[in-house]
Symmetry: C2
């Protein structure tokens, strides 16, 4: 089976011009748990722009896109609970062609069915960020994944970004108090809408602002922007036995001993770890089922803020420009 | 109230001679949760030899000793469930005079009553190592503190030491498979007695030996000897979403990014964190109640291997020599 895809051959910077191209690729033969999805929409994540620059970590030609809603068109022999014609959502894996494609092959165990009340674009904005926030809070920081069953306060550095917006909502759902950092007026308003109890400005002294609102230490801290910049200050702010989590790779060695005297933990979350290592991958399908349920019950709202229609190299070039400016609030979806 | 204590004024090395001395000190006035204990026996931990060398982190004169069994002689106004004459056990805190003392003041919330079937010296060997192992497994690595309610395998580096011996037993109790490292024949036999399922030699290539017994990765790894030496190899061996724990301070910065792509966690455990920060200290009394229950039910055995009788500078100098040689198997108790 052949699919049209938008990809590139070598990593490139946007300032080098548009090197996205249209290709026709042969989709791989289905494994028993696989299915084929005809994509309807996908969203752009910061990891897309990183992989576009590095050109590493994906198949050739590089076809990015790790958030999709589409219609199932073919089923592997052992696919359970999903049928042809179902509308599904998934984030996917860097090991295969991504969602900048008319059709793609995906493991059914990392897919969930969408219920009819949830619009395609709103759903397409969510899988990667929801899985990331869920795994961090409930599989790494030790919180309990039930509504209002947790206590304590979480500080989310860069609360208005994609993961931050979902982490804010999910932490609130779980029962935590949320302090989010944001800087621009629009980001602050957005973060408030996502449910943050307090907003502080990451361009000013965080420790001082926290003290002003009554916090000298925190049991949960989530770094979603520059681990290198924040590690030391956050180590100081962490409560004994607390969790300091990050999704942003550190580029220098860190003085981990700073956390020792308070029995601190440092937790990494990287949502492709499960598919990269073929580790407990069916848990991601379950996480997306919870996402669908919580969207249906209007307990989690979509972070969609912008839709670009079309399916061409130009459309994805434009989408990458918007995401790479680093001023996006919420998520950008490309609607095919 | 005055107590005889064995202490020192400045940090010293054993090769400088015996600078332990006998002092008479005034015990502090009791806070409402405090009690006074007349010590019967205490055990020597590696942290004692570290603090003796550095002379830091304790009150003046430095009176060490963080494991005791004694008889309660005085009660603060709000002490619950403990009475004068009770035999109790506790680890204590570095913030006050330790257990190299005839009598000491301790917060009743970090104390548990001993049941009559458990001998004093066997109990005195246990508090610090049990609290450390418990907090690491159940409060840091996310295991569930119930008998046989957990799956997976833990690798314990230096399995035959004080904490390693208790961590082995507690991990087995919780339902894990335990791979312990040991090197000498006696250590290997000891570790087997503590319940280890597999013993590998930390003077040989650990990764190769693990492969030989069928393990290419592990969900739980506990470093009880040289974080600096083991961090890199253990980061490689950690399973996705796994926990790499340590109680041994790192002296150099570490490349934490090694754990990122597998969503790994690094967990520190330091048992004085709770009393240092006045954080959740009553949990330590509860942990010691579990210790007493598990010793009573013979589900945890004492790690006591050697008793030195007496209460003098010479006795503690000799005890420090034995512990500092780093060849101790199990625990040394000084019986007053």
């Amino acid at each position: 089976m052949i699919s049209r895809v938008i990809g590139f051959e070598k990593g490139f910077r946007l300032s080098d011009g548009n090197h996205f191209e249209t290709y026709e690729v042969m989709l791989p033969k289905l494994n028993k748990f696989d299915l084929v999805v005809k994509n309807l929409a996908s969203s752009i994540n910061p990891v897309d722009t990183k992989l576009r620059q590095s050109g590493k970590g994906t198949s050739q030609p590089h076809v990015l896109g790790f958030d999709s809603v589409g219609i199932v068109t073919h089923l592997g022999s052992d696919v359970k609970n999903i049928e042809i014609g179902d509308r599904v959502l998934f984030a996917g894996t860097t090991k295969r062609f991504g969602s900048y494609s008319e059709s793609q092959v995906v493991d059914s165990r990392i897919v969930a069915k969408l219920s009819s009340g949830i619009p395609t674009d709103e759903a397409a904005a969510m899988p990667l960020t929801f899985i990331t926030a869920y795994e961090m809070l409930f599989e790494k920081m030790g919180l309990f994944p039930k509504e209002n069953q947790n206590n304590g306060t979480i500080l989310i550095i860069n609360g208005a970004g994609g993961v931050g917006s979902v982490a804010t909502q999910l932490a609130k759902w779980a029962g935590l108090t949320v302090i989010a950092t944001a800087s621009r007026k629009e980001s602050k308003e957005w973060s408030k809408r996502m449910g943050a109890d307090h907003i502080i400005d990451h361009h000013k002294d965080l420790t001082k602002q926290l003290k002003k609102i009554g916090y000298s230490s925190l049991p949960y801290i989530l770094i979603l922007h520059s681990t290198d910049r924040y590690f030391e200050e956050m180590s100081e702010l962490l409560e004994p036995f607390g969790h300091l989590g990050s999704i942003v790779e550190s580029n220098k060695d860190v003085d981990l001993a700073k956390l020792k005297n308070k029995s601190g933990s440092f937790d990494w979350e990287y949502m492709f770890a499960k598919t990269d290592y073929d580790f407990n991958i069916a848990s991601q399908g379950k996480i997306l089922e919870l996402l669908v349920q919580l969207m249906q019950e209007q307990k989690i709202q979509s972070t969609l803020t912008k839709i670009i229609p079309g399916f061409s190299p130009e459309v994805f070039y434009q989408a990458h420009q918007l995401v790479e400016e680093d001023k996006m609030i919420g998520k950008l979806v490309v609607h095919y």
